[in-house]
Symmetry: C2
Subunit: 135 residues, 2 copies
DNA sequence: GAGAATTATTTGATAATCAAACTAAGATGT
DNA sequence: ACATCTTAGTTTGATTATCAAATAATTCTC
């Protein structure tokens, strides 16, 4: 159990470093790219939901989104059913950035699984599915 | 490949959230606990090496370490061979905090692997070993 | 419909971060 | 040896990220 724990921590740390270096190349901040990632993979959502997913307060998010809107990556739209809320989503420019970032992720996944046979990959997927469910 | 990529990202995000909530309970900041984690698992090291591992500049680290020293979690010692360098390491108080945090990590690992049989765990370990090597 | 809860923004304060300048010490090349 | 180049850590000044609390608008509940 200890060894698996250490492997997970090492994996997490290396993924963190990778993300940091990839983000640095874009010229945007880590927080900004993370916001783009969440909006890109889950679609438009309300401020509250986005803040929860990012683990920050809505106050912090308000100023973040303001900047991303000014950068032309994100837009705000009225929420149909709830006039207190707004829906934030990606502009076409934001979508392009997300697609690029996602391609990098897929490249990385391809690279690090280079030496895994098909059976291992199948087991690995199942393990991730089960682990993700238990959080 | 796409599905594995998404599973990895989901795993990473959930681990992030978990870490954030666990750290919040300690009363220390994420950056502080991360520093303690690195020092705890790798032992005392020089500022430069620590900064590299944390992905921050030495300038940032200097003020971080100053705070951790004042909190009694970290100490500085002279480097034997290189008088430009100092070795930063955990105090007994810092070691205690690291041990506690590590126990939480092990608990988590135990929890999320609850539904995995022995064969899957063995494969999973091998996969992590191979993937960690490829970063 | 009155009171409670939720959503987003604003504000004021603090913490984290970087780049660049600086000091001290080691490494290198001739 | 010694001048130069590199490396390690600190300091400084500016920027960015963050939170908690106050506020305003809207929705929910009873």
């Amino acid at each position: 159990m200890h060894s698996l724990n250490n492997l997970i921590i090492e994996f997490y740390d290396k993924l963190s470093s990778w993300e940091q270096s990839v983000v640095k190349d874009t010229g945007y901040s880590l927080a900004q790219v993370h916001t783009i990632e969440v909006l890109g993979s889950h679609g438009p959502m309300r401020m509250k939901e986005l803040a929860d997913r990012l683990g920050i307060t809505t106050g912090t998010l308000t100023v973040q989104i303001e900047k991303l809107v000014n950068l032309g990556l994100v837009n705000r739209a009225a929420h149909e059913d709830d006039r207190r809320s707004i829906l934030v989503g990606l502009t076409s420019e934001g979508t392009k950035l997300h697609a690029h970032h996602n391609r990098m992720h897929i490249e990385l996944t391809k690279d690090i699984t280079r030496n895994l046979d098909q059976h291992s990959i199948d087991v690995l997927k199942t393990c991730f599915e089960k682990m993700n469910r238990e959080f």
